[in-house]
Symmetry: C2
Subunit: 556 residues, 2 copies
Amino acid sequence: MSKSDLEIAQECVLEPIEKVAAKIGIPADSLELYGKYKAKLSFDYIKELENRSMGKLVLVTAINPTKAGEGKSTTTVGLGDALNQIGKKTMMALREPSLGPVFGLKGGAAGGGYAQVVPMEDINLHFTGDMHAITTANNLVCAMIDNHIHQGNELNIDPEKITFKRCLDMNDRTLRDITIGQGSKANGVERKDGFNITVASEVMAALCLADDLMDLKRRFGEMLVAYTYNDEPVYIKDLKCEGAMAMVMKDAILPNIVQTLEHNPVLIHGGPFANIAHGCNSVIATKASLHLADYTVTEAGFGADLGAEKFLDIKCRLAHLHPNAVVIVATVRALKQHGGVAFEDLKEENVDALLKGCENLAKHIDTIQQFGLPYVIAINQFVSDTDREIEALENWCQGHGHPMSLSTVWANGGKGAIDLAEKVVALCEKENHYAPLYDVDKTIEEKIETIAKKVYGADGVQFTPEAKEQIEIFNKNGWGKLPICMAKTQMSLSDDGSIMGRPQGFTITVRELRPSLGAGFIVALTGKVLTMPGLPKHPSALDMDIDENGKIKGLF
Amino acid sequence: MSKSDLEIAQECVLEPIEKVAAKIGIPADSLELYGKYKAKLSFDYIKELENRSMGKLVLVTAINPTKAGEGKSTTTVGLGDALNQIGKKTMMALREPSLGPVFGLKGGAAGGGYAQVVPMEDINLHFTGDMHAITTANNLVCAMIDNHIHQGNELNIDPEKITFKRCLDMNDRTLRDITIGQGSKANGVERKDGFNITVASEVMAALCLADDLMDLKRRFGEMLVAYTYNDEPVYIKDLKCEGAMAMVMKDAILPNIVQTLEHNPVLIHGGPFANIAHGCNSVIATKASLHLADYTVTEAGFGADLGAEKFLDIKCRLAHLHPNAVVIVATVRALKQHGGVAFEDLKEENVDALLKGCENLAKHIDTIQQFGLPYVIAINQFVSDTDREIEALENWCQGHGHPMSLSTVWANGGKGAIDLAEKVVALCEKENHYAPLYDVDKTIEEKIETIAKKVYGADGVQFTPEAKEQIEIFNKNGWGKLPICMAKTQMSLSDDGSIMGRPQGFTITVRELRPSLGAGFIVALTGKVLTMPGLPKHPSALDMDIDENGKIKGLF
């Protein structure tokens, strides 16, 4: 029986985090320790780094995944370890996992197999408290809104037009739609409300795009919370609590450093939703890594149609980052699914389906090419992949002139990606012509159409009457010049999760727009996005335990 | 203009926490650092300490306070510093402040003036994440309950009889009474619910009374969450998530070490409500301190009628602790209030009112005597106290044979309590005959009557029909042999907060009982207890800020 991720992680003899940090040149006194194996880079050190030159930036993205995920984080960690193995001073910049979903279906998330980040238990539980700080900052705003209304409502806020929701880092479906302020008058004004999961909070998105603490405070101030009875927007700065929020976030803004199973340094910081937000780790961590390492390997949520597009159109644009290479992760399993195989049958060999499914990969390659970036395909190998399938895939790549590498990091750690690492280094030597796909000064409609046509391969975009009305309001309020954050199913290039492969002759329907003014983008929703998950019939929490020696089980 | 607590705290040049810990004999490798000035005692070290002998235990309690509080924490910190000054190896064991109220009226809470614990900002914000862990463990239970019902309700839970509420560490009145599970069926079953503030969660009370992690897990399992449609109790162990909860609490169970302004070691760990819970810091921290120090100074919430009674009848009984001396804090201000002066006029000299108010002090002394413990009165001096008032108070104490000491720790730190420290040392040399006031095997009614008569000075207790019915149910379910945790106004010895002094000829009305089976007590409510505070008209959050150097203002 193969070992679980938790078992592999628990077998690792961790190095003191000071020693890991020293490898990348971070002095011990620039660390704020959280136990022996976790630390934050200090406030002063982050400032000090700002003047240094930057290393190479490598993005790991993927094709449209199966519901099991294609191993982007695992590949990112394995590639980072491999780059270190071939003598390149490399750090990884990853997203923080959310605690809520850990109790649900999936257990922990910090890579997998022999390409993991440790201490796995801590990273998946409270880590250094960043999520809790976000929950607090978010809910402070909500308490201030309802208190403001209760205390006389000087700002004339319409309780039916409050857009800023409460949040909790828990999978708790019953909190999606609630009524608050019931009972006596002393309990405040009754109104409809709801909770998001913490990672869906705009506070998280703003944290991940902020340059520093003062910029984060400014972003908090810009956030829309409600409209008045006269439909004038009300911002957090009107409630005057952006200072308290920034205070609450004073530690959460500092990147966390941990290690891979091979004791290489990793920054894990920030993890916004990849649909209603941009799905990338923090700009602060990415920049710190670029200042410290010669190579920074980072990831973006879901497939290239969502994660890479937002990384390149939102994060890199706003943070003035220039990526050097893109790794597109694909699996035989997902390609077969795109070729028409049902999820249950993905373990069976099917070369024809695999080759048909390559059209999905081809579209994502096309997208990366449109951004002007060099790429390599990383095939994340599973034990169920057959030699014939791998060979067919290699032939397809070769036939189409796509650079490709077989990655076995799950089973072998860094040495499973030596070839990939060498190919990535070669790509980084090339000059590239990266540019975002659209000009932010275009209209909201034009920007969305550009993404839909160029990235999804759609014929066009339909806007519902509600969406059209919102666009009008946004333009009136001066919010029209922001980049677009698309919320779309990750399962398909289209906005219908059941359409596999490379759909043709379809349109995208934009149903709703939401202004994330503190994060600095407009969210365009193409369907219903669940911002508060639920627990399954048999939650993972049932199998979790800890013994008298503090040893955890069931976190996977 | 006098300096604020925050300004005084920010002027302190803190010592590295390893150095502070070394003073009390804690080796550096037994600390889990949280930055440079906060740490947790390690899991293994806590176990190792268990076999050591124990030092002296000093409880700091108070008379019924004014709404501004009488400086119990300040006196505790100052006394601890003073004991260190006179060469006694002393550690303080304090409660953790709650974050929510910091945004409301009171700002931070870790002592005051020159008798404070630092780093004040961190202690009052996220500290080491204990509150957040409690919030998570609590809300995991709630998500599991509602998920259980949604997924088929095998346990036959009646959604109208769920007793375990959600929680958040925020002053948010609109969450007191809510309806959850609204909207589509996918959002779970609609029902009434509400949030407590985190410190009011039974998870907090259980943490504070647990012997170790396994005992905490057992306590989680025992917690009542609901009744079935047939009125059978449903416990957390029926939901099978006590293991996951214990996992979530693996770090939160470890005591936190910080320092006073005079660089003496302080354990701050756990802070349950002092009405619906027992209002004392954790047993684990108190025991760790007793194993490490020759003198441990600790505190209990509100006045001696609530805090000391619960410390002595619940905490010391369950944890087999034997206290050595009690310090009863009084202020000229509070005594004058008990003598009939309105809160607004407390700054004016009024010797007659002061002497009349001493009857409140006399009752608390009587209570401590009934517990068989030696005591000293500590007068916590305020700048508004006049010489004539102080002299009158000294004469009163002398006339009645009560040992007394004037404490100026707010203005002078430890040197303001040298006399008090010496008196406390002398008291600790005496043998004492401490015993809890009642036998747990008595009936619920008898136990409550004992407390009401002996501690409050009531003539008797009335039980509402609802309370009587609950007692019957509790007895039927086998919960009758637990100690009692009284929930009563802290402002008065009676259950009417407006009755000052030493009320006579009154009865206490018990309106409701709540089983805190994981904590291990039955809560008896004598009035409406607010377990979720609200924000005031001008919340402190409005004045809070942080600058580009990370310096905080407005935390008080």
